[in-house]
Point group: C2
Chain length 519, copies 2
Amino acid sequence: MSEGASAGGHRSTGRRRATAAETPPTPIRSRAYRRLVNPFAHPRIYSDDQVAAIHDAALSVLENKGMKVLSAIGRQRFRDAGATVDEETLVVRIDRGLVAKALATVQGEFTFHTPNPEFNVPIGGSGVCFATTSGPPNIMDIHGGRRAGTLVDFENLTKLCQSFDVMHSIGGAVEPQDVPVHLRHYATTRSMLLLSDKVPFVYARGSKQIADCLEMLRIAHGVDADELTRRPCTWTVINTNSPMQLDIPMAEGIIDFAAAGQVLIITPFTLSGAMAPVTITGALTLAHAEALAGITLAQSVRPGTPIIYGSFTSNVDMRSGSPAFGTPEYAKAAFGAGQLARHIGLPWRSSNATASCAPDAQAVYEAEMSLWGALMGGANFILHAAGWVEGGLSTSYEKFILDVEMLQMFAELFQPVGAEPADMAVDAIGEVAHGGHFFACAHTMERYRTAFYSPLVSDWRNYGTWEADGAKTATQRAHAIYRKTLEQFVAPARDPAMVEALDAFIERRTAEGGAPLVS
Amino acid sequence: MSEGASAGGHRSTGRRRATAAETPPTPIRSRAYRRLVNPFAHPRIYSDDQVAAIHDAALSVLENKGMKVLSAIGRQRFRDAGATVDEETLVVRIDRGLVAKALATVQGEFTFHTPNPEFNVPIGGSGVCFATTSGPPNIMDIHGGRRAGTLVDFENLTKLCQSFDVMHSIGGAVEPQDVPVHLRHYATTRSMLLLSDKVPFVYARGSKQIADCLEMLRIAHGVDADELTRRPCTWTVINTNSPMQLDIPMAEGIIDFAAAGQVLIITPFTLSGAMAPVTITGALTLAHAEALAGITLAQSVRPGTPIIYGSFTSNVDMRSGSPAFGTPEYAKAAFGAGQLARHIGLPWRSSNATASCAPDAQAVYEAEMSLWGALMGGANFILHAAGWVEGGLSTSYEKFILDVEMLQMFAELFQPVGAEPADMAVDAIGEVAHGGHFFACAHTMERYRTAFYSPLVSDWRNYGTWEADGAKTATQRAHAIYRKTLEQFVAPARDPAMVEALDAFIERRTAEGGAPLVS
């Protein structure tokens, strides 16, 4: 058959369908997505010498320019650790020996624990996990348009995250703007703990909010505070204020999370040309310096604090200043960040991002460039893996589903390909007539049920059939899928005593006035 | 800045724009896309031993099952080469010694020559080139819908190919169904030669059509027939009829092209579960055997015939038989095909394909999966790189433009990243205030004009601006871009004497009755 002519499924397949009696129960294919391992070697944009030179340049930056640390508590911790602190300028200069001491105690691998250990997530090595988008204030769908996020939307996104094995963690999937900020973390944490088994997140919005969240997690895990410090069960993102500044809630978030033994995703957000140098290598050098500062602080608070080296380096449109995502620069920066993370022995985090204002073709090619860049770069944790649009200002329900389709395809890409004699199928090739087909031969009949990935969104039908069924685009089908997934959602079982304790805590803290956001 | 909060370009950038006096002339960035080199290492799905075992299994298939060759001329050539031919069954069995002899004369690298040598395309090694889609009978755009392709559409697609440096070759971008088949090759070849400098294609539709096309190319190159055999200047795709059959025009195309010293893209089209085994490894084993048969025939006609090892392996939907493209299986098969091609020392070809019936999100993620699979797999020639939708039954104008955007992003991905001290920007980092910005520092001002890729389709503006401008999707913008590109098209200059000779040839051959299609 010519590749041009009859592709499209017009042929009658003549394939016999298996009868019910012959069909063994099929294990749920997606269960394999719960523990993903990326088997592929990483592309490199730098030689080993260049990586070492960037690391050395970053160390020089920390010794000379230093990091401006707005938090007095943070500066004191740096001082205690041996850094040079200038109380006039608020600048902390960190000797490379201190950095080396910190890097000697980082963990290359650790595990996120969930109350149901089936949902534990190993971090590091060749492992890969995906978390929802985190931080957008708005929500959109193709029928309702764009509006401010609500708690119902946050809960919907938590339910969607729960519904797909390929999603491992839930971030701040949308800001519930209908809940006052001093109470918001109670609502979101409760939702995550009751509606999902996946790893929940915490925002670094001040010590009081963090303490509240860790207490809620402690209740959910049914352990004491001491045991919780040995059980990484949540993460927070620490963004530096590039270039070379650490704001108050960020420094204090590092300290609080390190003290609690919880996971810090220390992520300079470096847009080349804007708050970072216009060269990719300059942006990575700056980001590396800032990350090392955060790592040093964390390790000085608690040696062995689990940290994920975060990289979120992209470029801007130099004519307008608009951030761009999923660009060639973004992908190359991801390759480079992976090399730097492996140089210092930490697992690392990347993102799936787009500047598109709609769940359209641009959103998808920018997502794919982000994902391939991150995953080939060896990222262990992909934040914003599902739902992000509009430079992070909105979450799209349809994009969430399109992203899940893409993520499932990566999960399948990572599954090994058999190359035993039976896989080479020489006997089957011998049996089938020249110019014939393999639909009904034994080799196919034994394998067809599980041979291939069955898509969530993709429509492979021929044009006539697709058109007669309404000529729906992938984005339209994604809309229907998210609605149906929510309709079919069943919340996981929870111990009523645990729920009661959680609610009692929330009630008490609410009566006490909650915990204001610190900025 | 937090990655969640202010992404979206709401900030005033305060960036000073360079004055006209300060702006040096900018070289056209895309000129670098004319010669692409992929610097990245290839992911592997097989160990070296497994690759060798697949190769060995393929040799066994050729010795035992053999290839059914419908062309008597083809069978005679195989017989002359030393293969065992059964005239009853039409099956040719090829000893591994004959295959080894053929593989000893293949070229690892060669160059496509164009009349204007600026557009020559090197093939092999780490080189990459992109050709349009080839073969679809239908055309579509989002306003006109789907209809039969015409000569005007073919010319439009030739003009679009000419308009972008990232496109290196033009295939049968749509079938001009308004031109009778016995004359069609005159019209399409003339259009390619007059409207484009890129490498043109030829269909293997019988010796007469091939001879006509090669004569037209000879006229365009201004050389004699003997010189043309030393100047690869066109390609034809040879699809085997999987499993294990070579149809008449395909065998005769191999013979004619080999005799003429022109490039054969020998491509088994193997859909796992349909005309190939349901395992990826089985499909690749089958495809490898068929490719080796074609290579053996070609090398026996002319040792050193330039050949590109073609792989077009995907899966089907086992419930319906519909072909699928850009799937995880497709990408893994591309990785494996690359390993097999390198094992035998040939450059190789892959594709950019989708089963989507529209230029929508599915078309794009399947395209990206195809492209990343092919390019990370080390493919040197990507056919169908731009325009393909609907399993190859239609060409979409919008998809063409979306694909060009994606291809340009790959071209940029391949460009090296500087890691000199100036790239690390330590001085600039030292100069810029903590928490400040890099927009106006010298390091940025010296580089910003050329620092980043400027997109063709992508819109990075904030939501308010995008919405006020009509809330256009990427597909809608692609439509406008293709229309504008065609409006602005200027045909390349041609020697009037050459055009006259070409037209005289076409007139004479038309009067003689043209050349019927052979199938």
